[in-house]
Structures are given as structure tokens and as C-alpha cells.
Amino acid sequence: MQRFRPQNPDFENTVRDSFSRQPFMMLVGARMERVAPGLCEIVLDHREDLTQQHGFFHGGLVSSIADSAAGYAAYSLYPEESTVLTVDLKVNFLNPAEGARLRARSEVVQAGDILYHLKADVFAEGEGQSVHCLTGYFSMMCLHGRKDTVNLGRTGEGT
């Protein structure tokens, strides 16, 4: 992995605080585990109401936690007064997401000024096994000068 120097010395608290304000991640029970400059891991325990008709974790949700991990891996390198939005994502599902827990892990590949390129992978864990079930590319936008705590959507202050 590349070594990145964070612009925000308090990046870990900034990232964890932002994640804690995401209602959707709360809804599905996702937790943030590791945070490092340019890296983030999110885990999600199995719940029956998160599965699709075959009993696997729903693909949209597998993508969602990868997206969230990628967003926060990028955000860890952003300046203090900024926020993050996903620009695009492409994922390939490699194996069914079946197991006690999912672990999404994302790393920054290229940090630009406005656009950040990331890779993310999701692993299904359980019974001492870890199965690679998703790999994908993400582009994240850095919105300079925008506070993450001001809710862009609900206050009507969006771009």
C-alpha cells in the first residue's frame, strides 16, 4: 500500500464522526473498524433482513459498504474543511456474499485535488474463512470549503 500524509491531523476523529452521522449505515448495522491515512475498513454482521432470495447478503448492500469504505478512505486524506461525495463506482461480484460478517476494505490509489481514485474489496468472513466477494473502483470528489456537518441535502444548501 502507498503511504499518504493526511492533510487533516485529526483525520481519524473527523472520519469516524462523519460515519456516525450516516443514517443508512446505522440502519444496516455497519461499523467502522480500521481507519488510517488513505485506508478504511467497514464491517457488517449478518442479519436475515439484509439478505436476498438465496440467503446471500444483498448485492446492493455489499456495494454500499464498499462505497462507504471508499468514501471514508478518501475523506481521511481531505483537508479539514471539506466533505466527500461519490462520483462513480464500478464493481464486480466475485463470489456469493455468504457468511457471518462482511468486511469492506478500501485504499486510495491516486489522490488528486478534486478527484480521488480508490479500490475497494469486500470479504465474507465466518468459520475461519474469508472469501473475496467483491472488487471495485470508486471515484470520490473532494468538496473544498464545504463543511461535512452541514447537511447539503436537507438544508437546501447543496451545489
Binding site: V109, Q110, T135, S139
Partner: protein, 150 residues
């Protein structure tokens, strides 16, 4: 997956490569060929550049796709081929330099579908810069549909 290929399979693959006119047109060479692995290289030529002396992004895409497809081909049984269903290319930095090098690896080798990742680097005097990455879906060509395939 760093095993050498069976020589006859490798010969067949290299012979097939010779008939790929577009890649010959570009001047692409295979530098590494193993099971699930293909590295390719392409030297600077004026006809491949966009304005400003950078490799055109279409050239990066073509090289990434070709390396991924060939990496997939190394895992196909003799006489069967795979083709690209789709790919996503992220352009990371300007490709200014004397040479492009692509490294393709198969991430998942299913019977019908394979997923490859290609990283493309641009070589100049001082560095080997990561300029593009591609995530490629390959599908087996012409194999009968099987109920067991998911």
C-alpha cells in the same frame, strides 16, 4: 497463480496474438505470460499521442483490455476463447513517457465469467508512474450454456 503455462497452450496463444492486427498496428509486445497473468508493453510513437505529447487514453484502454483478455485466455482450455464483455478504466495521471507497461492479473476465474484487473504504468527518465487501472469482465466465447453455471 504464477505457474508457467503448458508450452503448447502458450504457443497457440502467441500464434493467435500474431493475427491480432490492431495490436500489431499499435506495436504491442507481450513481456510476461503465465497462468492468469499477462504483461504487455508499448513504446512511444507519435501516432499514439494526443496533443501535449501524452499517450491517448484510448491507447491506455486498448492496452489494458488486451492484456486482461490475454491473461484470461491463459486459463481457457485449448481451442476456446474468451472475449471482453465490458471494462471500466480509471485514468490516474497523464501518461507522458517513452513506454507503457500493462500488468494484467485474473482476480476471479469462473467457468463462464472471468474478472481481470490491469494496472498501466508509464515509464520516463525518472519514474514508473501508475497512469491507469482497469477492471475487466471476460466471458467465455461460444461455450454452451450450462445449468450449473451461476
Amino acid at each position: 497463480m504464477t505457474n508457467r503455462m503448458q508450452p503448447d497452450l502458450e504457443q497457440g496463444l502467441l500464434a493467435g496474438f500474431e493475427s491480432r492486427n490492431f495490436m500489431r498496428h499499435l506495436g504491442v509486445e507481450i513481456t510476461v505470460l503465465e497462468q492468469g497473468v499477462c504483461d504487455m508493453a508499448l513504446d512511444h510513437r507519435d501516432s499514439l499521442m494526443q496533443h501535449g505529447g501524452r499517450f491517448d487514453s484510448a491507447v491506455l484502454g486498448a492496452l489494458a483490455d488486451m492484456a486482461a483478455g490475454t491473461a484470461g485466455q491463459t486459463l481457457m482450455p485449448a481451442g476456446e476463447r474468451c472475449r471482453t464483455a465490458e471494462y471500466k478504466l480509471n485514468l490516474l495521471a497523464a501518461a507522458e513517457g517513452a513506454r507503457l507497461e500493462a500488468e494484467a492479473r485474473i482476480v476471479k476465474a469462473g467457468r463462464t465469467l472471468k474478472v481481470a484487473e490491469t494496472n498501466v504504468y508509464c515509464i520516463n527518465e525518472s519514474e514508473r508512474k501508475h497512469v491507469a487501472m482497469a477492471l475487466v469482465t471476460l466471458v467465455a466465447d461460444g461455450t454452451p450454456r450450462q445449468e450449473k453455471d451461476v
